[in-house]
Amino acid sequence: MYSKKVKLRFVFVIVFLILIVLTTFTVLKVLKDNVVYFKSPSEINLLSEISNKKIRVGGMVKKDSVMMNNNKINFIITDFKNELYVTFSGTVPNLFEEEKGVVAEGFLNDKKFLVADKILAKHDENYMPPEVKKSLGE
C-alpha cells in the first residue's frame, strides 16, 4: 500500500519515539536516585525511618560544641528546637564558626547522629544558605 520510503520513515519514527521514552525514563530514574534532600534537625526528628540516602542538614553550629582532633571535627547542628550530632573529617569552609549557619551533607546513622562527608558554606558572611534560614524561620 505505502511506498517503501513511507514505511521506512514510519519505522524510523517509531524507533525514535521509543528511544525518547527510554531516555526520559532513564534520566528520571537517575535523577531520583541522585538528588539530595534538605532537612532540618526537627524534620529529621519526625522521620519514621532512617533511609540510607544522602541528605543535607542545615542549621546553626551550636555554641561551644566544636571538638577537634587530628582526624575529626565533631559539632552539633541546632535549629533551636532539636539538635543533631555531626562527625566530619575533611575540609571546613572559611566561614565555619560557632553560632553561624552551616549545611552538612552525609548519611544518617540514627536520628541524632550524622556522618558528614561535606560541609558547605557560602562565600558571603552576610549570607545564610536559604534552606538554613528557612528551617530556622519555621
Binding site: V27, N94, D124, E125
Partner: protein, 628 residues
C-alpha cells in the same frame, strides 16, 4: 558627580538612538527602500558610542572612587588596588548589565560592517530584530538597574568589593564570557531576519559563521577562566562542580557547538535549514536564561544581598516575549522557504553531523534538567533538593563513548557518500589505541572495564585527530579543536582517577604523610597588606627523593567588607599539581589542612586553549575551503 550625569544622559541618548534606528528601519522596510546608507551605519555607531561613553564614565567613577554614585559606593573602597577598582565596574549587577549592553550594541556595529555584501533587506531586518533586544536591555538598565543612581550626602568611604571577587582571573572573566553570551544575540537576530527574507542558504551560512565562531571562542575562554578561578580560589581543588552557575554557561556552549557543525553543513550542502534556525534560537534563549538565572538570584550565587524580584520578572517576561516572537515567526515562515532536499541516511559527513547533534542535544538536556529540576520541585512540591555530580556523571559518561567514536570517524567521511576502506593504517591506529589505553589503565590501577572503554574511546579520537596532520588537505580548525577536546577528556579522566588527597587537623610543628611524601607544618606568620591581613602557613613537602618543596597557603582576612578567604598554594609541574589549603576555626588550636595531588591539571587548561585555537584557525582561514 558630573561624570555620573554624563554616563546617565549618554545612556538615555543611546536609548533614543535605538528607538530611532528601530523606527527608521521599519519605515524603510515598509516602503521597501532597501538601502543602508552611511547615515544609518553612523547611527548604529552613535548608539554604540553612547553606551561606550556611559561605560567609560562608570569605570572612571570607580577609579576616582566617586562615592556619590550608589553603584560605586556599594561595590568599591578607596583602599582597593586600582586593578580591582576597574574590574569592580562589572563585578556587580548594574555595571555588568551596562557591559552587556555595550557588547550588544558593539556586535551589531560589527555585523553591519561585516555584512556589506549581503542583501540589504536581510541586513535591515537583522538590525530591526537586534534593536528589539537592545531597546529591551536599555529599558531594563535604566528602569531597574541604573548604574548612575546618586546618593546624598556624599559618603566618605565605600562598602568594598566582595573579596572572593578580588582576583585577576575573575576580573577579566565577565567581559570574556559576555562577549560569548551576547555574541549569540546577533546570531538570533540574523536567523530571524534570514527566515523572513528567505535567505537561509549557503551565503547566509558563510556570513553568520563568523559570529558563531566568535561567540564560541569567547564562551570557551570564559568558561576556562571561570574554572581556573574555581580551582585555586574556592579551595577544593576542583575545577568543575556542576554548580548551576557553571551549567548555565555550559548549555549555550553545547548548543553553539552543535550549531557550529550545522552551519558548516548548511554552507556546503544546504542541509538542516530548519534545524540550524532552531539551534540559533535555542542558543540565544539559553544565553538569556543564563543571565536570568544568575542575575535574578533564583540560583544562589556569589551575588547575594537583597535581590529585587522585579528585575527577575522583567528579564523573564522579556525572554518570553523574544522566544514567543521567534516561535511565531518560525511557524509562519517555516514552509515558505524551506524547500529542503530529502535527507536520506547514507554513510556521509551529513549523517555524522546529524548524529553529533543528537548527542550534543542529549547532553544539553541532561544539564538543563539537572539545573532547573530543583527550581521546579521547589515551586511545585516545596521540597529543597540539590542535584549532585553523580547525576551528570551517570548520564553523560556512558554516552561519551559512542559520541567520541563518531567524532573520530566523522571528519574523515566525505560529503554525500563515503566509501570506507579498512586498510592497514586504520588497523594500526586501533592497535596503537588499545596499547595506549591498556598501559594507562594499568598505570593508574583501575580495574573497571568501563574506564578502559572510556580511555579507548578518548585515545582513539586523539590518534585519529593527530593522524589527520598527515593528510594533504589539512583542516587545522577541525584538527586542533578535536585534538584539544580529546586531550581535555583524557586529562579530566586521568585527573579524576588519580587525584589523591588527605585532610588533617594539625598544630604547628606536626606533620603527616600522603603516599611517599611527608608534609611538615613549619610555622605560621602574619602579614599585612593594604586591603587584607593574612595568616600564612609555611609547609615543607619532602618527596620520595628527599627534594624539598615549599608551599605557603594563606588565609586572608579582608577589611572592607570583613571576610576571610583561603588562598591555595599550588606547585605546578607538567604531570602533577601539588595543592594545599589551610583553614582556621575560631577558638581552636588546630589548623584544618588539606593536601592534594592533582595530576594533569595543567593539561586541562592547555587542551581547552587548543580547542580555542581551533576556533581561531576557522576564523582566520575563512576564505579557504573549510571542512569540519
Amino acid at each position: 558627580m558630573i561624570i555620573s550625569q554624563l554616563g546617565y544622559y549618554s545612556l538615555i541618548f543611546g536609548l533614543l538612538t535605538s528607538i530611532f534606528i528601530f523606527l527608521n528601519s521599519s519605515i524603510q522596510l515598509k516602503k521597501n527602500i532597501l538601502v543602508i546608507s552611511d547615515k544609518s551605519i553612523g547611527l548604529i555607531g552613535f548608539q554604540f558610542f553612547f553606551v561606550f561613553i556611559s561605560f567609560i564614565s562608570l569605570i572612571f567613577s570607580f577609579i576616582i572612587s566617586d562615592f556619590s554614585n550608589e553603584t560605586v559606593y556599594n561595590n568599591s573602597h578607596t583602599t582597593k588596588p586600582l586593578f580591582y577598582k576597574i574590574t569592580g565596574t562589572w563585578g556587580n549587577h548594574e555595571g555588568s548589565l551596562l557591559l552587556w549592553l555595550l557588547v550588544l550594541t558593539g556586535v551589531l556595529l560589527g555585523f553591519v560592517f561585516k555584512s556589506r555584501n549581503e542583501p540589504n533587506n536581510y541586513r535591515l531586518l537583522t538590525i530591526l530584530f537586534h534593536q528589539i533586544t537592545v531597546i529591551g536591555f536599555f529599558i531594563f538598565v535604566l528602569k531597574t538597574s541604573n548604574p548612575f543612581n546618586a546618593i546624598f550626602p556624599v559618603q566618605m568611604e565605600g562598602l568594598g568589593l566582595n573579596p572572593i571577587l578580588q582576583d585577576p582571573a575573575l576580573g577579566i572573566h565577565p567581559p570574556i564570557l559576555y562577549l560569548g553570551y551576547v555574541g549569540t544575540s546577533i546570531i538570533f537576530s540574523a536567523a530571524l531576519a534570514s527566515m523572513i527574507s528567505n535567505y537561509v542558504n549557503k551565503s547566509w551560512a558563510k556570513n553568520i559563521k563568523f559570529w558563531i565562531l566568535f561567540s564560541w571562542i569567547f564562551l570557551t575562554g570564559g568558561i576556562l577562566l571561570g574554572s581556573i578561578w574555581a580551582y585555586y580560589e574556592l579551595g577544593w581543588g576542583g575545577f568543575w562542580f556542576w554548580d548551576p552557575v557553571e551549567n548555565v554557561s555550559l548549555m549555550p556552549w553545547l548548543s553553539l557547538t552543535a550549531l557550529l557543525h550545522c552551519i558548516v553543513t548548511l554552507e556546503k550542502r544546504e542541509l538542516f535549514k530548519k534545524w540550524t534556525i532552531v539551534l540559533c534560537i535555542i542558543t540565544f534563549a539559553l544565553s538569556m536564561v543564563g543571565t536570568f538565572l544568575v542575575r535574578s538570584g533564583i540560583l544562589n550565587s556569589v551575588h547575594t544581598f537583597a535581590n529585587d524580584p522585579s528585575r527577575g520578572i522583567y528579564i523573564l517576561t522579556f525572554i518570553l516575549v523574544l522566544v514567543l516572537l521567534s516561535f511565531v515567526i518560525f511557524v509562519i515562515y517555516e514552509n515558505k522557504n524551506f524547500t529542503q532536499k530529502s535527507e536520506i541516511f547514507t554513510l556521509s559527513k551529513e549523517t555524522a553531523v546529524l548524529i553529533n547533534n543528537w548527542f550534543i542535544l542529549y547532553f544539553l538536556s541532561v544539564v538543563l534538567i539537572g539545573t532547573i529540576y530543583p527550581i521546579f520541585l521547589d515551586v511545585i512540591l516545596d521540597e529543597q533538593i540539590s542535584v549532585g555530580p553523580p547525576f551528570y556523571n551517570k548520564l553523560i559518561l556512558p554516552f561519551l563513548i559512542p559520541f567520541v567514536l563518531f567524532m573520530s570517524i566523522g571528519p574523515s567521511m566525505k560529503w554525500i557518500k563515503t566509501n570506507f576502506k579498512f586498510g592497514a593504517k586504520s588497523f594500526f591506529v586501533i592497535i596503537f589505541t588499545l596499547i595506549l589505553s591498556f598501559i594507562t589503565v594499568y598505570y593508574i590501577g583501575e580495574k573497571n572495564i568501563f574506564i578502559l572503554l572510556l580511555f579507548i574511546g578518548f585515545f582513539y579520537l586523539l590518534l585519529k585527530s593527530l593522524d589527520q596532520f598527515r593528510e594533504k588537505t589539512k583542516n587545522f580548525a577541525q584538527i586542533f579543536s578535536h585534538t584539544g577536546f580529546s586531550l581535555l577528556l583524557i586529562s579530566i579522566l586521568l585527573n579524576s582517577f588519580s587525584s589523591r588527597e588527605i585532610v588533617k587537623n594539625i598544630q604547628v610543628g606536626e606533620s603527616f604523610t600522603l603516599k611517599n611524601e611527608k608534609i611538615i607544618f613549619k610555622k605560621i606568620a602574619i602579614e599585612k597588606e593594604k586591603n587584607y591581613e593574612s595568616v600564612v602557613g609555611f609547609f615543607e613537602i619532602l618527596d620520595d627523593k628527599n627534594t624539598i618543596i615549599n608551599l605557603q597557603p594563606e588565609i586572608r582576612i579582608y577589611n572592607e567588607p570583613e571576610m576571610a578567604t583561603s588562598e591555595a598554594s599550588i606547585k605546578t609541574t607538567l604531570f602533577k599539581d601539588r595543592f594545599i589549603t589551610i583553614n582556621i576555626i575560631k577558638d581552636q588550636n588546630f589548623f584544618n589542612v588539606r593536601y592534594q595531588h592533582k595530576p594533569f591539571m595543567i593539561w586541562i587548561w592547555i587542551s581547552t586553549l587548543i580547542i580555542m585555537l581551533g576556533g581561531m584557525f576557522a576564523i582566520f582561514r575563512k576564505n579557504k575551503e573549510v571542512n569540519i
